[in-house]
């Protein structure tokens, strides 16, 4: 009985186990790994992608998915840099958030009203937005170092980087909304069984649309933070964002088949990936090989997720 409980506990928290394992191995191998500076570094690296990951968690719980967030991030960094130079910071923030909102709304309406696969819609959006980013900048990065913005993007408070605060705020807000509000409950219902949710009077279309809007907004936020941190708008930003973010969400234990998952799982998924790639960097693995590993991880987690989902279906617990 006790052994069963232990196995169950391990199985449900396999991400945490993996995390501890990597940390333990790295602590033995490298003496720079477990330093305060490196831990700050890891959180700094995952903060921006992490903000988007919580948006993606909502989409995946709802049984949907967004490929276009990487291109949107690039567009937002460019817009923000350009507008903060020309029109001032408040206007830039406003326009960027509005852009995220509109892109999300278009994605959402196409998916929910026209019933087109989210993969196709967001694939098209990804290409179109990438084209916008490249046309706007002619493929060159645009730089603008505004002192106060740069200080905001790279500063820290009580030893925690400013951008990590944003990451944590979005994390807590995402979890609270999922756990304690009607919106969160209905999201699980929509993702778990769309037909049943509709029968129960849930406005499925509204929820489907709103998750794309949420992703648009958090991506815009992430883009603004990225622009502040780097002082640049670049059409190459966000190249592997959607891949990293989806890997993180699914590694955490939310399922692509919908109806399962939460923000805490995503937090740990993001942390595992962050620690892993930090470890690879410390071990001196070449960037190209890191990309190979990133792709392989995505394939692996999708395969495992699909296999587990089938198992659940067989047991009647889908």
């Amino acid at each position: 009985m006790n052994r069963h409980k232990l196995v169950h506990l391990l199985k449900n928290n396999i991400v945490v186990v993996a995390l501890l394992l990597i940390v333990a191995v790295m602590a033995l191998v490298s003496n720079t790994f477990l330093t305060a500076a490196n831990i700050q570094n890891i959180f700094g690296q995952i903060a921006i992608n992490g903000i988007v990951a919580f948006g993606m968690t909502y989409a995946i719980i709802c049984g949907e998915f967004d490929l276009s967030c990487g291109s949107l991030l690039a567009v937002v960094t460019i817009l923000f840099i350009d507008l903060s130079k020309r029109a001032g910071i408040p206007a830039a923030v406003l326009v960027c958030l509005l852009t995220g909102f509109v892109v999300g709304l278009v994605n959402g309406l196409l998916v929910s009203k026209l019933k087109i696969s989210a993969f196709v819609v967001t694939l098209g959006m990804m290409v179109a937005l990438k084209g916008v980013a490249l046309s706007y900048t002619q493929g060159k990065p645009i730089n603008y170092i505004n002192d106060s913005l740069y200080a905001f993007g790279n500063g820290s408070l009580w030893g925690i980087q400013n951008i990590v605060f944003f990451f944590l705020i979005v994390f807590v807000a995402a979890e609270i909304i999922l756990r304690f509000t009607k919106f969160g409950r209905n999201l699980y219902a929509t993702g778990g069984n769309q037909t049943a949710a509709k029968m129960a009077g849930i406005r499925v279309d509204f929820y489907k649309t709103s998750i794309f809007v949420i992703i648009g907004l958090v991506t815009a936020l992430a883009g603004i933070i990225m622009a502040c941190r780097t002082g640049a708008g670049n059409s190459l930003f966000g190249g592997d964002l959607s891949m990293t973010v989806v890997s993180a969400v699914v590694i955490g234990g939310s399922s692509l088949s919908g109806g399962r998952g939460n923000a805490i799982k995503t937090f740990f998924g993001m942390l595992v990936l962050g620690v892993l790639f930090n470890a690879l960097m410390i071990l001196g693995v070449q960037a190209n090989w890191q990309d190979v590993i990133k792709g392989a991880i995505l394939i692996l987690v999708i395969a495992l997720d699909a296999t587990f989902a089938r198992g659940r279906k067989k047991l009647g617990r889908a």
């Binding site: 998915f65 019933k115 993969f119 070449q286 995505l298 699909a306």
Partner: protein, 320 residues
Amino acid sequence: MQNKNRIGGFLARHAILIVFAILCIAVAIIEHRFVSLQNIRNILNQISVIGILSCGMTFVIVSGYINLSVGSIMSIVGIVVLKTVASMGDAPGLLVALAVGVLVGAVTGIIMSLIEGKLGESFMVTYGMQSVCAALALIVSGGLFMMSTTTGVFSSMGTGLTPIYIFLVLIVLCHVFLTQTVWGRNIYFLGANPVAAKLSGINTRLYITIVFTLCGFISALAGIVLTSRVASANPNAGVGYELDAISACVVGGVSMKGGKGTFLHTLKGVVIIGMLGNALNLLGITTYPQMIVKGFVIVLAVSMDAFTRPAPSRKVGEAA
């Protein structure tokens, strides 16, 4: 009501062709070079690589899946073929290059068949595969641009009208395979209703593997033709080609829902996408704004597909 729907459906089905015809006439008026013999040859050459690639993509889409990795297969095959042809000679070199495509396709296919994934899983798995192949292409080439120095079978594959002939022969073979053989029937069945196909005794796992392997093989062929045509290879050569192939299929009328569409649709789509790209080039619209157009074309074509069909209730058990 029914009637009105039917007329709307009819218009929507042909809207792409109508819009396209108007576009062609407009471009021909603005830019006379569009209808010159030289340009038509040019278009045919450009079409052939996308066309070959779209043949592989059609198999995958008809089976109800998608493959985002074909562009990066082209990149890696291009680099491999230049290296192997130079070091081993024509025939072994080409075989090795084709084997690389088959290998990538087979790995994807085996993964997809083991997990019995749906459209959603194929998006994610092939997205990961795209990243793997693109990075491997960079590693194998050392990030360098490579020139072809050989003359022989390989270098003749991309010169003159050979690419067109390769494309035409391939599409006829594919068409016969898909419409005239039991294998082809079963692929349609798999795409239309995988559950029913499995229950009626079709080895769906085998077919999923075959379809992706075939797509890998054909993508490798496209990569070889492209490399031969430009007589050089670089690790980014295939970037974005997967989108052209997908757009060609869906614009032509191969349904993303699976089980519907023939290679005649593919041919139509390839011609439309090829001429569209050429027209944009002639009008002086550069690569970057062209991407915006391409993105909209994909969404537009699929929306039309959604309009022309009676609104379906989502397939039971469909992942995303």
